[in-house]
Amino acid sequence: MRLRLFDFAAIAVAAAAVAAASVAAYAPGSGEPNAIVSGDEGQWIYPLSSDAELSVAGPLGITLVQVSDGAVRVLDSPCSNKTCIAAGSVSKPGQWIACLPNKVFVRVEGGTSDDGVDAATY
């Protein structure tokens, strides 16, 4: 039997859909950026697109980290110089904020692939 014009069109459309889905799923850099927060008690990961407020405990007390509007920032911290708060919001992969006195480290990492996590450095 002979295939007709719109059979080929349909197959083309379907193939295009498969290709588009493949790119969206497997291309490098297709993942969302995440905020990685490390503290004395452990580590947290939140996609930048989510909304979350974290209380990270450290030697000096609680540092409040907020993820919202596609960025992460430190809202409050018991350190004396408050540079971490002044650093504002970060949202690009590789950017970071640190509260050294309270041992809290925040960084932005891109992609959903599980990279090996380095030990937190100060």
């Binding site: 859909a17 498969v18 889905a21």
Partner: protein, 209 residues
């Protein structure tokens, strides 16, 4: 309403079960052929629905790479029905397939039924639309491919929302690819069946038996 007239069965035809006897009977009954009684839309819908159940049972026995993937063989009667049933009964057929399978497998209230409903209705509507829109310029192959891919796309979206979350993105290409493949095979089979089948000719009113 379901047809309630009972046609007297001819003993010889029943025993022989041959096409000649069958079509001879259909030929002689043609004079009184009407939309009610034998061959009514309700009756055709029930018969096609029963074949959906049958093919679903077969599909269930075929081992699947991922438990959530469905091969779509059970949509074959719906594909054939695009050329047979008027729109209202076509939709009833899709519902019969979904609800009937949910009753048989006892899954009426579960997500499985939701996936089945969304997938089947999408496939049915897309297939009917393609058939009506493109007429003679498309065969069952194109119709089936469009229906299968659309159906799988909708199911992936549901899976993302209800079950898998963002990870559904990772299976989407595989699932859509399978839709393309099974759509192609199903469409090819449907075309050849429709061309060769005497039953199909009777059902579409093209044949006198």
């Amino acid at each position: 309403m379901t047809a309630s007239t009972r046609r007297p069965t001819d003993g010889t035809a029943g025993a022989a079960g041959s096409a000649r006897a069958g079509s001879a009977r259909a030929g002689s009954a043609r004079a009184g052929y009407s939309r009610a009684g034998r061959g009514s839309d309700a009756d055709l819908t029930a018969l096609l629905g029963a074949f959906c159940f049958f093919l679903s049972a077969i599909e269930y026995m075929v081992p699947k790479p991922l438990p959530f993937m469905r091969l779509g063989i059970a949509n074959l009667p719906i594909l054939l029905a695009t050329g047979i049933l008027p729109l209202p009964w076509f939709l009833v057929l899709a519902l019969v397939k979904v609800v009937g399978m949910s009753l048989i497998s006892g899954s009426l209230f579960s997500y499985v039924a939701i996936f089945s409903l969304a997938g089947t209705m999408t496939a049915a509507l897309v297939m009917l639309a393609a058939r009506k829109a493109f007429g003679a310029r498309i065969t069952a192959v194109g119709v089936s491919v469009l229906g299968a891919v659309a159906s799988n796309a909708v199911q992936i979206a549901l899976a993302k929302a209800l079950v898998f979350g963002d990870a559904a993105r990772l299976v989407a290409p595989v699932f859509l690819g399978m839709g393309l493949a099974t759509g192609l095979l199903l469409g090819l089979f449907a075309e050849r069946f429709a061309a060769a089948s005497r039953w199909y000719a009777v059902a579409t009113g093209k044949s006198d038996g």
